[in-house]
Symmetry: C2
Subunit: 187 residues, 2 copies
């Protein structure tokens, strides 16, 4: 064991408190994940998200089953993943609040509707319009496997947002050195 | 659509190239994930990792099935997750190299053996000693659901490492404002 360490060794199991402290040191993205459809519009701030596979393009998102938005994702079957950038700390805070209604949350930001029907944040750094292909429960959470149907990258957003040590951080993106082969630039 | 956007709309599917560009803007942690056991010692740098549930403590890790380390994780059934900090850019680069053998990789860094048998980096910001409880394939990758059996937080590491825009970034951790209830401080 290294010196100055806080550890679970000698304990019979890992405590929730120690696990949360450990996870606070895992640098994480900041996204707002939304849904809409028969079960209504919902959205929440999510840092538990990662890329899985590029063939086919798939990301996964973890949502607590006790979150009031959870059932809408399951029933609507679609997810709008909005990767936030510099200046989005406010939107992230609003969508992280469990006290606010969907109407109060979506009053913040300008929204468009993706192909799947999911709300997409007009000035997000990146939006991924997704169909939820599979849901796997794990402990308190459901893991949503999201097949990406549409992508929009906002090239005006040059700095992204990360969450680490219980604070926001700003991370510059690398500039595009060459145009992407697949692109539609909309005026 | 926002101006200055690069989008897949109008395309029949999402291209690998566009998906990778989008994912480069998702701020991500930097970890070295290891295994050891009957199938031998292996390790690789992983950014596709996220916390899932605190009850029970569970994280998930995505590993490409074509990576030479993949089979060892499946057969050994254990994973050491080493969350990297400031100064670990070198170790991250070495473990990211698919050309290096396990012996070449583990020559970098000081390693101890966790309860599960997984190698843990002595000066990592955090180590999670895990049993792989489930594996779910998704596209090119396997998603490993890792039950956390042991945690060590190195309180001397005050700055974490993130990967965003194809570059490393340094993220300060919040100082502990109060001692954790569950702790073993080893001199």
């Amino acid at each position: 064991m290294p010196p100055n360490s806080i550890a679970s060794e000698g304990q019979t199991s890992v405590s929730v408190e120690l696990f949360r402290e450990a996870m606070s040191r895992l640098g994480a993205p900041v996204t707002v994940v939304t849904t809409d459809g028969a079960a209504g519009r919902q959205g929440l701030t999510v840092s538990a998200i990662t890329s899985v596979s590029d063939t086919p393009a798939t990301v996964l998102v973890c949502i607590n089953r006790s979150n009031r938005s959870h059932e809408a994702f399951r029933r609507n079957g679609v997810a709008g993943i909005n990767i936030l950038g510099h200046g989005h700390d406010g939107v992230a805070g609003i969508f992280a609040s469990s006290r606010r209604s969907p109407a109060e949350k979506f009053a913040s930001g300008l929204w468009r509707i993706g192909k799947t029907g999911a709300p997409l944040l007009e000035d997000a750094a990146v939006t991924l319009d997704c169909v939820i292909e599979d849901i796997r429960p794990s402990g308190t959470h459901d893991v949503l496997f999201c097949a990406v149907r549409d992508i929009a990258i906002n090239d005006k957003i040059a700095v992204g947002l990360a969450w680490c040590g219980r604070a926001f951080h700003h991370l510059p993106f690398a500039p595009l050195t060459a145009p992407l082969k697949v692109r539609d630039t909309v005026p």
